[in-house]
């Protein structure tokens, strides 16, 4: 009966967060080591896991995330295996190990609750790019999982003397020590319907990396579903 599915059984756990295939995240939860995950991202779990949407601490930190309706995070605690996914987006697992990363809010899937994190608004840009850009800066010793629509690409900013420009809709994450500013490639002719379709970019300079997804679909599917 289950033979056609051979090969899809979960691999034994070797780390706190692992990929199951390209599009699913497997987290080994244990008591005392909680996880913050996007609300609605759970697809399956084994064991005894409890979910607490909007824990007060999170609400405080992220009180005006997105439209201010509250933080789309839930705290998962307990013992077991938790499987998370975001509508078939690729999942990238990172062991921070003391590094930091700044993640676009819609591309954050889950992270260890004990990490240092904060929500901040990307300056200069929010007014123009539709939904505004909120990002979460995470650092410490622990694990983070990001989502990307399609296999992402990582570009090293230190490569050239020029800045690296990114379409905000395709941006996934970047090193927090990069300098960010908004750039408007906005010309008079754009006003009469002759724009290039690339009106706003974010310019990164400094030493670090930028992660970009091959898609400009930045809608937050978990959030759209509610």
């Amino acid at each position: 009966m289950n033979q056609p599915f051979a090969g899809y059984a979960p691999a034994p756990v070797t780390a706190r967060m692992e990929n199951h295939g390209n599009h699913m995240l497997k987290v080994a939860l244990q008591t005392g080591n909680d996880l913050l995950a996007r609300v609605g991202s759970m697809v399956a779990y084994e064991g005894f896991v409890q979910y607490e949407p909007n824990p007060p601490a999170v609400r405080q930190i992220a009180r005006d995330w997105m439209t201010g309706e509250g933080a789309p995070l839930m705290k998962c605690s307990g013992d077991g295996l938790l499987y998370l996914a975001d509508y078939g987006a690729n999942v990238v697992v990172i062991n921070l190990n003391g590094d930091g990363i700044s993640v676009n809010a819609t591309n954050l899937l889950a992270f260890d609750a004990h990490l240092t994190w904060g929500v901040e608004r990307v300056k200069g840009l929010a007014k123009f790019a539709g939904q505004g850009l909120w990002n979460t800066k995470i650092s410490g010793q622990g694990w983070v999982a990001l989502t990307s629509r399609g296999k992402p690409i990582v570009v090293d900013c230190g490569g050239g003397e020029d800045e690296t420009y990114v379409d905000p809709d395709a941006l996934v994450a970047w090193s927090p020590n990069l300098k960010v500013k908004g750039k408007r490639s906005f010309k008079a002719q754009s006003l009469i319907g002759r724009g290039s379709g690339e009106a706003y970019q974010m310019a990164f300079s400094g030493q670090g990396i930028v992660v970009v997804q091959p898609s400009e679909d930045s809608t937050d599917r978990l959030r759209v579903r509610g």
Binding site: A9, P12, N95, I153, P214
Partner: protein
């Protein structure tokens, strides 16, 4: 990304995947030929000492079901399920083989592969094709072998003699001048005689028993496959078969048999849950320390803390290596007890997604993203508006109008592209909506692409709208864009496309066809049947395009009907 193996390559399975429940698929086909694909479970002397471990179509599983034959599926001619940690200790090697049924030889085969799937993704693939073989009639494709840990080797070694040579290779002596199918087992522990199924009728030329060769002592020096060569015929192994270089060709990524990253080598302790501060009562005794029963399906004692939910049996399906009972303070899962694949830290985790620098103007970074270096060639690129995801350098994006005539034509035909011109010096990364991208280089030839499937192209290309006439098409006619000249065009498809050569009977749905080489002639074939059209239950497939052309023409069809 599966790791690509070549003949002679090998790697620890734990480096490929942490899983032990593996799916092994073999695709091997040849026009007009059939293959028997089987798996031999061999002992330490590489002998088939127990014929219950010869898994083939007549015996689809080994006694404890660690080796199961699953049949053809998912593009594989044959497939197996291998549960490594249930393989009994006397089995030291699994050899996957394919033998020709009937006349023919291995040089006739189409490109095929042996692949390993675990944890939901393909982790290894050994591809081969007919040019690597000559007159062989049986081939050992790949081995799982136990040397400290289970390893995989891509073998690709053939035998002219077919199945009987193969059996002889594994079975040691075939009883001389005996009835074909009853070779004797030289090794102790043989349970039942006659491991060759009668169906196979092996004629068994008398073979001097080869000294049971040692299973290759050096793990690394595996270049000639580790099979014990039947003494009289060493050339079988060496001479005709090996066409491909044993050494990895330059640039190919070789499975580095180097020191495995920490977490792999030694078994991660799997004592799940609840050792921590444990507000949930004494630590669950059941978990992860069932040393005796590696897969004790129900932990006998229910850990008190956990109460309600019925116990999931040991979390990593079976605790395969979790035998270290109760080392206190071992955090089970979880705590990053070692680096993940290839080290810790953001940079290491993202290493696999790094940009690949090449010296070319158009570079495909991955299946969904292309990079164009505007500094090379010096000409601008026209790209669909909004398709830029990232750029470095001084690049200017400007509106590219279709011109007055272009607007009129575009409005009338629907073949209108909203383009922008990218000029300057720098690299631009283009992608759209996670569609798959295919850069096609035109050298004076032409290609017809539907306008909505064009992502970007060099400005040096000429393009015009072409009309395909035919009755029965809604709107009276179909239109497409024809690109000619010298340069590169990037075509996008939703999903993995199929590229078909144009034959006298090539048809495509006009909604799903993406592109075709412009030397092919297009005819509309509509199935008009009074009875069909009279009912609402129409097949919905009434307007098709038929293609005609000289050999060498192709069409591209996507699995998505717009």
């Amino acid at each position: 990304m599966p790791r690509e193996f070549q003949r002679g390559h090998k790697a620890r399975i734990s480096d490929l995947t942490a899983g032990t429940d593996l799916y092994v698929g073999v695709q091997i086909t040849a026009p007009g030929l059939t293959f028997d694909i089987s798996c031999f479970g061999l002992d330490a002397d590489e002998r088939l000492s127990d014929d219950r471990y010869f898994v083939f179509f007549n015996q689809p599983k080994s006694p404890e079901e660690s080796i199961q034959l699953l049949g053809a599926q998912a593009g594989d001619t044959e497939s197996f399920r291998i549960t490594l940690d249930r393989i009994p200790p006397q089995i030291h090697k699994l050899s996957f083989t394919a033998t020709l049924d009937g006349a023919g030889q291995m040089s006739q085969i189409n490109p095929g592969y042996l692949r390993i799937v675990a944890g939901g993704e393909e982790v290894a693939r050994y591809a081969f094709n007919g040019s690597e073989f000559s007159s062989e009639r049986a081939v050992m494709l790949g081995d799982f072998y136990l040397k400290d840990v289970w390893r995989f080797a891509a073998v690709g070694q053939g035998f002219d003699g077919g199945l009987d040579a193969l059996l002889k290779n594994f079975g040691g002596e075939v009883a001389e001048e005996e009835t074909p199918a009853v070779p004797q087992q030289p090794q102790a522990g043989a349970a039942a005689p006659g491991f060759a199924p009668p169906a196979f009728g092996a004629p068994s030329a008398p073979a001097p028993a080869p000294a049971p060769a040692q299973p290759q002592p050096a793990a690394q020096g595996f270049a000639p496959p580790p099979a014990p060569a039947p003494a009289p015929a060493p050339p079988v192994h060496a001479a005709p078969t090996i066409v491909a270089p044993l050494a990895p060709p330059g640039g190919g990524h070789v499975p580095p048999p180097a020191p495995a990253p920490a977490p792999y080598g030694q078994p991660p302790q799997q004592q799940p849950y609840g050792q921590g501060p444990a507000p949930t009562a004494p630590m669950p005794p059941g978990y992860g320390q069932q040393p005796q029963a590696p897969q004790a399906p129900q932990a006998p004692q229910v850990p008190p803390g956990y109460g309600q939910p019925p116990q999931p049996p040991g979390y990593g399906q079976q605790p395969p290596f979790g035998q270290v009972p109760g080392v206190p303070g071992q955090q089970a899962y979880g705590v990053p007890q070692g680096a993940p694949q290839g080290g810790a830290g953001v940079a290491a985790a993202l290493q696999q997604f790094k940009e690949t620098p090449t010296g070319q103007r158009w570079t495909q970074q991955n299946r969904k993203l292309v990079r164009v270096d505007l500094g090379m060639g010096g000409q601008p690129v026209l790209a669909r508006q909004g398709s830029m995801v990232l750029y470095q350098g001084k690049v200017d994006f400007s509106y590219k109008g279709a011109g007055f005539a272009g607007r009129i034509v575009g409005n009338a035909t629907g073949q209108e592209m909203q383009l922008m011109r990218c000029t300057g010096q720098g690299q631009v990364f283009l992608a759209e909506n996670s569609t798959m991208l295919h850069p096609i280089e035109l050298q004076g030839d032409g290609i017809c692409v539907s306008a909505e499937n064009v992502l970007a192209f060099d400005e040096s290309l000429q393009y015009e709208v072409r009309r395909i006439e035919g009755h029965g098409i809604p709107g009276g006619a179909l239109f497409t864009m024809q690109f000619t000249g010298t340069g590169t065009i990037v075509v996008k498809t939703q999903g993995t496309p199929v590229v078909l050569p144009v034959t006298p009977t090539t048809f495509a749905d006009c909604n799903a066809v993406v592109a075709w080489s412009s030397a092919a002639q297009v005819v509309v074939s509509s199935q008009v049947r009074m009875r069909r059209n009279a009912y609402p239950g129409d097949t919905g497939e009434s307007v098709n395009l038929q293609f005609r052309g000289a050999p060498g023409n192709f069409i591209v069809v996507q699995p998505y009907e717009v």
